[in-house]
Symmetry: C2
Subunit: 359 residues, 2 copies
DNA sequence: GCAGCGTACCGAATCGATTCGATCCTCTCA
DNA sequence: TGAGAGGATCGAATCGATTCGGTACGCTGC
């Protein structure tokens, strides 16, 4: 027996109304008499009809209610960073308010197998997170598709609205805080300089292709020109630990302050400092960046710049809904706020005078 | 001027072929001569046609290439736990291999606004993670839709294939390891006993509604009957720390081993033990569960049970593809493996003899 | 030279719902 | 009682692509 799923036409027939009437009962776009509604609903119940087929509906309406989120290579990497997680949470919230869901897309395109990509996914819009290389070309495709695109903290070329952070100014602000405490021998622990770059000191000629890293680096240099910087391999506690170990083992006078470019790195730095028998902030002050909850830092409270991570996601959602409505969406620049914790303090009296100038 | 997007019919017309031929050029389902392919492709380029509309294609084919993943309330909570993240990564991988993408769905349904839910999302199948309460009813809807559903570590009622873990046996195995080292005064630090339950000792009458917690608890009790157990509020380092602080402050002889139900909890326990001036494993042995990478634990190596987190996701993907192919998918039970680290050791000689029997 | 065969392409039906103008009915008011 | 108004319902076109049975054509073999 041919038991295929009931369609709205079946429901309409059983209810004794037209398909169009049955449709509006479900969509509610047009007033329907109570009697009719009851008839249709009970016919639906009888047939086991649970609502319009989303596929057919999205074809007809031209909207699928899905927003593609392009994350990096793997899910596990994208969600390792709490900032990304919180941002995605904000995005989910912002899009849910407009009735859209999030479709996770990996950007290592070109793979066969029909996995939905930025060129084949049934999405109404796309959000690019971090925006890796190699995505540019898919992006052109998307623009050919005439689909709204927003980039969060990354560069996707002209015409694509961006959600930006005041990375440079924010890093400058917290660096000034450290300088005002009297610190002169300062070292940075930075985020990766380029995709897949190994850990190590950043030389003058080191190319810094990751914009976040570059901007925060600039902000620190605005305050501490020529400051030494050690790039971590990733934003994580373990990498921060390893970086701090390397920094402390370096020749020359020990720094009195270490500025990390993320809270995770800072957490690792703090632990390394403590493991070296030093005290934070008495011997070394440490600052972070992000202001998100980092598991395992308690009971310390990081001095850091709080960035509006969830707001980034919501702003992206707002930009998308504007574009979907046919309006032009402008780039948004969000600002971070200084938060004082107990990981920074005045430079110690007995600190020997600086030999060179810094680092 | 009416500049609507080109359709495959437009391309076919410009190329001088029929729509059906143009279609197969893109889908590759039928052999096409090189000459025709070239004609169609260049016509497509000329018109800016970037490929078939996914909405229309999914209507016709009856497949959208999307799998809905129902996570808990918020994205940020779901991704806080590395086990979930890794599992999702495995799922993404498994689904990608079959050409499907992951649509994130929150399960606090019933909300208005048209947000895609388990009842309206254009998904070919659903994966329920953790399976919160209140989802059951949506689930019936889904079964009415005749859509494959798989549950990972949760119970969704009869007829729904589950991906399970040998939680009880695994916890028993590592407990036996601890017992074989001579430990008798043992305490557990468990995962939450119920959604939203506060931290505290688990009494005999405490209901344990979370199956993972209950199963692992049973496994430990198989080896240490009547063992004391303190439930944390969440699987995190900070909560593990807090739980261990409470455990160490309890009356009676100090335990010589603490069995945590997750690696994150174990990491917190270790730190609390160290902060109390004790040494792991000399004074107190600590075990975890999960075997995933926990940021900030290095350089210690946790003695733990390694669960195949990524494999859970892949197994779910396999089950779904089987169901999509019309076959019945059976539940899968995966097993964990013991991994020895340096956080457990033999009970100390000078440990005072146990006064009661345990805890 | 003709039956037989395989390949490449075409036409038309179909997937399931939505939308909008037209129609019909009922109620109100002059 | 008839015109008018307004609300509920209907019909038919449409969204864009896929699929399958069938046709036409070129080639082989006897």
């Amino acid at each position: 027996m041919n038991m295929r799923r009931a369609t709205i036409a079946d429901v309409a027939r059983v209810a004794g109304v037209s398909a169009s009437t049955a449709s509006v009962v479900f969509s509610g776009k047009t007033p329907v008499s109570d009697a009719t509604r009851t008839k249709v609903l009970s016919a639906a119940g009888e047939l086991g009809y649970t609502g319009p087929d989303p596929r057919a509906a999205s074809l007809r309406r031209g909207r699928s209610g899905i927003v593609g989120v392009v994350i990096g290579d793997r899910v596990r990497n994208a969600f390792r960073d709490p900032v990304t997680t919180v941002m995605l949470d904000g995005l989910a919230e912002g899009m849910a308010a407009q009735g859209a869901g999030l479709l996770l897309l990996r950007d290592d395109a070109g793979r066969e197998g029909g996995e939905p990509s930025v060129r084949t996914a049934p999405a109404d819009a796309f959000v690019l997170v971090g925006c890796s290389t190699g995505l540019r070309e898919s992006l052109d495709t998307v623009r050919g598709r005439d689909i709204p695109v927003v980039v969060i903290e990354g560069d996707a070329g002209a015409g694509v609205p961006q959600i930006l952070l005041d990375n440079r100014e924010a890093q400058g602000e917290i660096a000034r805080h450290v300088r005002d405490l009297g610190h002169r021998r300062v070292v940075l622990v930075t985020l990766p300089t380029a995709a897949g770059s190994g850990p190590g000191w950043i030389e003058d000629r080191t190319p810094v292709t990751v914009t976040v890293t570059r901007d925060r680096l600039s902000g620190a240099r605005d305050v501490f020109p020529g400051v030494g910087a050690y790039a971590a391999r990733r934003s994580s506690i373990d990498e921060g630990y390893a970086a701090a170990v390397a920094v402390l083992a370096a020749d020359g006078a020990r720094p009195t302050a270490i500025l990390a470019q993320s809270d995770l790195l800072a957490a690792g730095v703090i632990r390394a400092v403590q493991d070296a028998g030093l005290v934070v902030p008495d011997d070394i002050s440490v600052t972070g960046f992000d202001g998100v909850w980092v598991d395992g830092v308690a009971p310390l409270e990081l001095t850091t710049m709080v960035q509006p991570a969830a707001e980034k996601g919501r702003a992206a959602g707002a930009a998308i809904s504007a574009m979907l409505a046919g309006e032009a969406a402008a780039s948004v620049r969000l600002t971070s706020a200084f938060r004082s914790g107990n990981t920074t303090g005045p430079v110690r009296e007995d600190a020997e005078p600086e030999p060179g100038s810094s680092a």
